[in-house]
């Protein structure tokens, strides 16, 4: 089993990357220029349809880039997909799903070993599902399924982890546990890229990448997440109360919408 890379090694180097879905005319992600090092936790912020999942598809090789350059020197990438993408009707247990992560470390003719099974159990334990190992995946709750998919990524043991909204649907204790687990993984020297809608959480991570079909900004959250960047990221306004407390995100003025009947 490969050792996790040491802190500081470049894991992702994207230079003006753009990707267009087959049949689409405009790219779903464009002008993405960023670097992720081992040990770094990078959050990816953006509205629905902002291109977060698309960026991850490019990084896993599912979607080819249409322009720009992308280097993934560490090779293997593990993905925790957005849960709604997973199949509920497939006849597998939670342990079976976690074990699928081992496939990425084997040639196609090999089968998972006893050590891989032990690793899969350990991964389920790390996400707090040791007692659910034999449950059918489709019978688990949404938050439990999400954690099984995290366990699968742990079994992959990749130096780079992509997490697509891994906190959605988690209750408070599970979210706490996942937060601690992600911190541990970064401390081991792995790089984390996490799509999220939680600006507060993004502030607590090392880097933030703001995407709204094009890259809006990339850098340390303290200097990057200005009101202006957030506004351009979400195409909307943050209401800031006197004293600097941000109340929330309001939709932008609807002046570009034509509801008809206005000037007639």
């Amino acid at each position: 089993m490969p050792e996790p890379v040491t802190r500081g090694e470049v894991l992702v180097d994207a230079d003006d990357l753009a990707a267009t879905y087959p049949g689409a005319t405009v790219p779903a992600v464009a002008s993405a220029t960023f670097v992720v090092h081992g040990g770094e936790r990078v959050s990816v912020l953006g509205p629905n349809g902002g291109g977060k999942s698309t960026l991850f598809r490019v990084l896993t090789g599912e979607l080819t880039l249409s322009s720009g350059a992308l280097a993934l020197p560490a090779g293997r990438v593990a993905l925790v997909p957005q849960t709604e993408r997973s199949r509920l009707d497939f006849p597998v247990s939670a342990l079976d799903v976690a074990l699928m992560g081992a496939v990425s470390r084997m040639p196609w003719w090999r089968r998972p070993s006893r050590a891989d099974r032990a690793l899969a159990r350990e991964a389920l334990d790390r996400v707090g599902l040791a007692d659910r190992a034999q449950r059918t995946f489709g019978d688990l709750s949404g938050g439990q399924r999400q954690r099984v998919l995290v366990a699968r990524a742990l079994v992959q043991d990749a130096p780079l982890l992509l997490l697509d909204e891994p906190f959605s649907g988690l209750d408070v204790p599970s979210a706490e546990r996942l937060r601690a687990l992600l911190d541990d993984l970064a401390a081991e020297g792995r790089g984390l890229l996490m799509a999220t809608h939680d600006i507060e959480q993004a502030r607590s991570w090392d880097r933030v990448l703001c995407l709204n079909r094009v890259q809006i900004a990339f850098g340390p959250p303290a200097s990057t997440l200005t009101a202006q960047v957030i506004e351009r990221t979400y195409g909307s306004e943050i209401v800031t109360l006197p004293g600097g407390v941000e109340l929330g995100i309001l939709p932008a003025h609807h002046h570009h919408h034509d509801h008809g009947g206005h000037g007639s």
Partner: protein, 281 residues
């Protein structure tokens, strides 16, 4: 009663038919589960029906059905691939048009003045008339399918569960899809000799569909599908022997009956579960 059970077994052809169906049952238990779970049932039906002109053509020309079937399969597969790519035409619609056209062409050829003797055999199969070659082919196919599916099992599971995520596991789905498609074509070709053009799909898909209703683990599903295929074959052959009905049709009917029973059992369990839940509320 004993005689009722043993009588059929004194006939060599019945025993051979049982052997052939058991081998095909192994094929259907393994491959059928992947066909059902990866949504290939429709492809299976398309291929089986699209190859009819090849089979009838072989009967008209007097060449072995296996050869005609193979040619028919290639033609059907190519036409399906070509029309499925016509832009602005829903691929399901395109495929069903082609398959219906091929099926119609096959029937027309079969009704031509030189109607070949074995048209009924082509449509409904002749389990009781299987040759040694058929049995050897089925054995070879069964062995090949078991080996290929066992070796590829981890990857097929990972792709089947999360197709979009397969790339992140270092696997491209396309080559594995192609392997399943080739196995499906081979299974159709070999099974069509015994079960006929119209019934082969029921044998390939029915047992796995039944197992799908009853099982929530892949290994259990494959084992159950094989057992359902075997039980359906035995029941069908006894029915055919004692009631003097066509063997292929009675085997198909037996498998479909098991499928119906599985659905009923599932519905009853769900209902009981809901009653219990209501009683506890």
């Amino acid at each position: 009663m004993i005689a009722w059970l043993t009588d059929p077994l004194t006939h060599g052809i019945v025993v051979r038919a049982m052997l052939e169906l058991t081998l095909l049952g192994v094929v259907s238990g393994g491959l059928g589960c992947w066909i059902v779970l990866s949504g290939m049932s429709y492809s299976a039906e398309s291929l089986a029906h699209g190859m009819l002109p090849g089979l009838v053509g072989a009967a008209l020309l007097g060449v072995p059905l296996l050869v005609g079937g193979a040619v028919g399969l290639v033609i059907a597969a190519l036409s399906i691939v070509v029309v499925a790519r016509v832009p602005r035409l829903d691929s399901d619609v395109a495929v069903s048009v082609v398959v219906t056209a091929l099926l119609g062409l096959g029937v027309l050829m079969g009704l031509s003045p030189r109607t070949p003797a074995g048209l009924g055999e082509i449509l409904f199969g002749d389990v009781l008339g299987v040759s040694d070659l058929d049995i050897r082919l089925a054995a070879g196919l069964g062995a090949a399918i078991v080996v290929v599916l066992a070796v590829l099992h981890p990857t097929l599971m990972a792709i089947g569960f999360d197709r979009a995520g397969a790339r992140a596991l270092g696997r491209r789905p396309a080559p594995f899809d192609a392997v399943l498609a080739v196995l499906l074509a081979g299974a159709t070709l070999v099974a069509v000799q015994a079960l006929g053009n119209l019934l082969v799909v029921a044998m390939l898909v029915g047992p796995a569909a039944t197992a799908r209703v009853l099982c929530d683990r892949m290994a259990a599903m494959m084992l159950t599908a094989t057992l359902v295929a075997f039980a359906g074959s035995v029941a069908g052959l006894y029915l055919s022997y004692h009631a003097s009905v066509a063997a292929g049709a009675s085997v198909t009917a037996a498998i479909l009956t098991l499928y119906g029973l599985a659905l009923l059992w599932r519905a009853a369990t769900a209902l009981r579960g809901r009653r219990t839940a209501a009683a506890h509320a």
